[in-house]
Subunit: 199 residues, 2 copies
DNA sequence: CTCCTCAATGTCAGTGACTGACATCGACGA
DNA sequence: TCGTCGATGTCAGTCACTGACATTGAGGAG
């Protein structure tokens, strides 16, 4: 009685599969091990088993490796804002997005910590992070406008929501934190409400 | 009857004076004329009458030329926050900073428009702008903490204030705008207050 | 007046990110 | 069987940016 095992056979294809994934993995490893600046694209490519040129076919630049795969993030956030109850306030709609994202992040705390460590050590990476967040902010504002919210309230709400996330996220990835992101976002949201409370 | 005119004489010094200023001017011209990416540092240096190496002695990188001279900005904002009345709310203190900055910007509308046009056309420049603003946000948060405001309210207030500025500034530099920045900031501030109003 | 020091610049030779043009090759369909 | 095509390799080039060292005129010490 013979058993036929179907398994992946690299020889099926001309190259190892998932070049993009291998690049991302190799890059994260090297950035973590020796730092972003001390890592050359050639080294990443070598560890991933391909050439420098191919690296740039998969990622626009050396920094982008750490930020690709954020589309899921947006694709989780925006629908939640859109799907919020019709009678929700703009901030409540944004909060719905925030909570949706929080639950998605929760299982990835270790990975988020490692990534954040790399980014925190490099200003260039922080720049990229900020512009990605700004892009998300624009998308949130657009979603709010789709809900009938007018400018400038849409933009201000989106930015405020991002600030809430930023504060909560920083606490969440802190080395000694044990509280879930959802909870921290709740706290941060409450703090935001106190900002304009007395004015 | 002879007239003695005292004027600047370039031969007094080994080099033309104000190398930094000449670089900044040349860079702004070239970035405006043909775009940031289409301008090389060598070209800027040539127009400024010096070498590429000297460019990098005055500015950390090609982008920084557009962002140097923002220290005055911070040095206007922070003291105003610090000097706000002791019984002012955190947001009122930030508003004081915003208004201080507004009056300083007002006379420079044409220059701000040109600069913003250059930045708007280039993602890399937007990245740099965002991180500069983030740095200002950190400084504002620190100033608030100095006023006894605790985290996370300090950070959230600072970020909200920056959002207010961002919205107002965008309207101010818009081609058809005629309203003063101070007024637009006032409007934007009022809109911010409505964000958390109903929640 | 002469010499010394110093700051600002120039010169030069790199390194490394990124790009365009063209070659290669195995999978797959006509 | 062959031609197309997508993913990759190869190669040469541009440009931002850096480190090491040389140069020179101004201004001070003597």
């Amino acid at each position: 009685m013979s058993v036929t095992v179907i398994r992946y056979d690299a020889s099926m294809s001309r190259w190892e599969p998932d070049a993009r994934g291998r690049i991302a993995l190799a890059a994260m490893e090297l950035y973590s091990e020796r730092g972003f600046d001390q890592t050359t694209v050639a080294e990443i490519a070598e560890r991933a088993g391909l050439t420098e040129r191919t690296f740039f076919r998969h990622f626009a630049d050396k920094r982008e490796v750490l930020f690709a795969g954020q589309e899921p993030f947006r694709d989780l956030f925006i629908p939640a804002v859109v799907a919020a109850p019709a009678d929700a306030t703009p901030l409540q709609a944004v909060a719905a997005g925030l909570y949706a994202v929080a639950d998605d992040f929760e299982p990835r705390l270790p990975w988020s910590r490692q990534r954040q460590g790399v980014i925190a050590a490099n200003p260039g990476l922080q720049e990229r992070e900020l512009i990605k967040l700004a892009g998300l902010g624009d998308a949130i504002a657009a979603a709010l406008r789709g809900r009938g919210v007018t400018e400038p309230v849409a933009s201000l709400t989106a930015q405020s929501g991002l600030a809430v996330f930023h504060v909560a996220f920083a606490l969440w990835v802190a080395p000694d934190n044990t509280r879930p992101l959802r909870e921290l976002i709740g706290d941060s949201l409450a703090a935001l409400k106190s900002v304009t409370a007395g004015d």
